[in-house]
């Protein structure tokens, strides 16, 4: 027999859908089906059941082959590596719960590590911009119930946040948005006619990398001032049209993604986007929100915010928290060869960092705590498989609008497998022993 677990939270993207239904065996050991999830979320749940899943830690041998080791040996290697290093990098923290992030932070403090999360290659530049000029934001509940002008700038939720539009931004009928998508106007700014752009009322096919110019043009257009004939590849008539559309709404929301944070201009693009939002508030209610990628990257920013005062790139190597993006960020540290050990948990820099950084990880003592086999585990010296957070263990996660949601355990992990938090607890205890505290 089977049973259905309802209201399950999806641990894939920052949308953190909380309406999944998962069919599991009566003893809770097997997971059979997933309902309501997007294709990516469903795959994440189902992959936990893969027959070829690794269940024990392994260590790379000199000849390049793997040797299975015990959790005790993995804990010993990790604790020694971190305690012996002068300035270890502890990276990732986005695909795990806040409880594990807190334990990891304690280890980081004890060994003088640089703590960095995936915002460093995602919305790190947005965080810099928020520190520069603040952010007028809101929750996704407000978007669902109030927003009637939706602008997606440099993001493609049809692919990256597949249920965002149906749950919150475009299609749902909310308290003041009873007509659903027919009562909303949707604008997409993207250098490609993406699948999101195809359903928009207006698509501005911007020249790649010219976001700052177009954002500034919006500020000019709001005021009804003169624009050049073409800005960033967009005829001025289209800019005026889009600006008027935004101004005429009751509640406008700007969602932005990697198109602005990763193109040249970086944090200054976000400065401009936030300034657009501020200007728009002269005419109507407007808010702006980053489309956070990992389901709990927001949470790691929260945890470090309350522990250290900074949301990412926190350097604890001097015994107190320092933060200086460009200096204490993972890719800068790796490329300049400024760290002497790498610990990765809940992320895959091997796949998602530029290759020059990956090569540096390969050359250093390194541990990857990761349920899957990934390019990161391929370049690390020790690979520690753990239980999937949000599938095999619960814990707190923060949605992209900074709303905390408790994820749920729906199925048992393979026998004898540790969770992130259990593994970190034991590493912390061993580090304390080594340090004699």
């Amino acid at each position: 027999m089977t049973k259905t677990v309802t209201d399950v939270v999806c641990p894939f993207c920052g949308t953190l859908c909380d309406d999944l239904e998962v069919v599991v065996s009566d003893d809770g050991k097997k997971l059979f089906e997933v309902y309501n999830a997007c294709a990516i979320g469903a795959e994440k749940f189902l992959h936990s059941q893969a027959a070829d899943r690794l269940t024990r830690p392994r260590m790379r041998q000199d000849d390049g082959s793997w040797k299975e080791i015990s959790y005790d040996e993995a804990i010993e290697y990790t604790a020694r590596m971190l305690a012996d290093a002068k300035k270890p990098l502890m990276y990732g923290w986005s695909s795990t719960n806040c409880e594990a992030q807190a334990v990891g932070s304690e280890i980081g403090e004890m060994v003088g590590a640089v703590m960095d999360n995936t915002a460093t290659v995602c919305h790190g530049t947005s965080l810099i911009a928020v520190q520069d000029i603040g952010i007028p934001s809101c929750t996704l509940g407000e978007v669902k119930n109030r927003a009637d002008r939706i602008l997606f700038w440099g993001c493609n939720p049809a692919h990256a946040h597949p249920r965002h539009m149906s749950r919150y931004s475009i299609f749902p009928r909310g308290f003041f948005t009873g007509k659903g998508h027919t009562g909303r106007k949707m604008i997409v700014v993207d250098p490609r006619p993406t699948d999101t752009a195809r359903i928009a009322d207006v698509h501005l096919q911007i020249e790649q990398g010219r976001d700052y110019e177009l954002l500034d043009a919006f500020r000019v257009a709001f005021k009804g001032e003169k624009l050049p004939d073409v800005v960033a590849g967009i005829p001025k008539e289209k800019i005026y049209e889009a600006a008027d559309m935004l101004k005429s709404g009751r509640f406008a929301i700007i969602f932005f993604g990697m198109g602005v944070t990763q193109s040249l201009g970086k944090n200054h693009n976000i400065d401009a986007a936030i300034a657009v939002t501020r200007d728009l508030n002269e005419y109507t209610k407007a808010a702006i929100m980053p489309m956070r990628g990992h389901y709990n990257v927001t949470g790691s920013g929260q945890v470090w915010g309350w522990l250290f005062g900074f949301p990412y790139a926190v350097d604890l190597s001097r015994g107190f928290a320092r933060y200086n993006p460009g200096e204490t960020t993972s890719n800068d540290l790796l490329r300049r060869g400024e760290v002497d050990a790498v610990f990765v948990l809940g992320s895959d820099p091997g796949a998602h960092f530029p290759f020059s950084s990956v090569k540096e990880i390969y050359n250093l003592p390194s541990v990857a705590v990761e349920p899957h086999e990934t390019p990161t585990t391929e370049v690390c010296k020790v690979h520690v498989p753990v239980a999937f957070v949000g599938v095999e263990v619960g814990g707190c996660a923060y949605r992209m609008d900074n709303v905390p949601i408790e994820t749920r355990k729906v199925v048992e992990p393979p026998e004898g497998m540790l969770t992130d938090e259990e593994f970190l607890d034991r590493v912390l205890a061993r580090v304390k022993e080594i340090k004699g505290v």
């Binding site: 894939f12 997007c38 294709a39 990516i40 795959e43 994440k44 992959h47 893969a50 460093t120 290659v121 790190g124 530049t125 810099i128 493609n156 692919h159 990256a160 597949p162 250098p191 490609r192 006619p193 993406t194 699948d195 752009a197 790649q208 990398g209 990697m258 198109g259 990763q262 193109s263 040249l264 970086k266 944090n267 990628g293 790139a313 993006p325 460009g326 200096e327 204490t328 960020t329 993972s330 890719n331 800068d332 490329r335 091997g350 796949a351 998602h352 960092f353 530029p354 290759f355 020059s356 950084s357 990956v358 090569k359 390969y362 899957h372 086999e373 990934t374 390019p375 391929e378 370049v379």
Partner: protein, 133 residues
């Protein structure tokens, strides 16, 4: 014949699904070991769809399969889904922001018919050992 295009990267749903199904599996290579080119750029390149090509920037080089743009047209812009293939060639400079420049790398694309598209693990392994061009 080689063409110059502006490379951007990012998520596709196929990338997301195959990533969660296992990055060591062939589906991940099929989803991310590709470059999406506009039909106009295919014409300039003088290549058929699904030809293997070598993509080169001043930062590195990688062999991927050229496919027609799924979210086009975007002449002059090429797209490799985020992953180890794209990261062989993207601009790693952060310009003191911490963020590598994943979008907007000028690249050259040329036909490389007989070269294989490596899977993700082999690509990083061989790259780290210095066994790749």
């Amino acid at each position: 014949m080689a063409i110059r295009v502006n490379l951007i990267t990012g998520r596709t749903i196929q990338q997301g699904v195959s990533m969660e199904a296992g990055k060591e599996k062939p589906a991940y290579t099929a989803a991310c070991g590709i470059i999406e080119l506009d039909p106009a750029d295919f014409k300039k390149l003088g290549a058929f769809r699904n030809t293997t090509v070598r993509v080169t920037s001043q930062y590195g080089s990688v062999v991927v399969k050229a496919v027609e743009a799924t979210q086009g047209p975007h002449p002059g812009v090429a797209y490799i889904p985020m992953g180890p293939w794209a990261n062989r060639v993207v601009n790693p400079n952060t310009y003191s922001t911490g963020m590598p420049t994943f979008k907007g790398t000028p690249v050259t694309v040329e036909v490389a018919k007989n070269e294989p598209v490596l899977d993700s693990l082999e690509l990083v392994r061989k790259g780290c050992r210095g066994e790749l061009a």
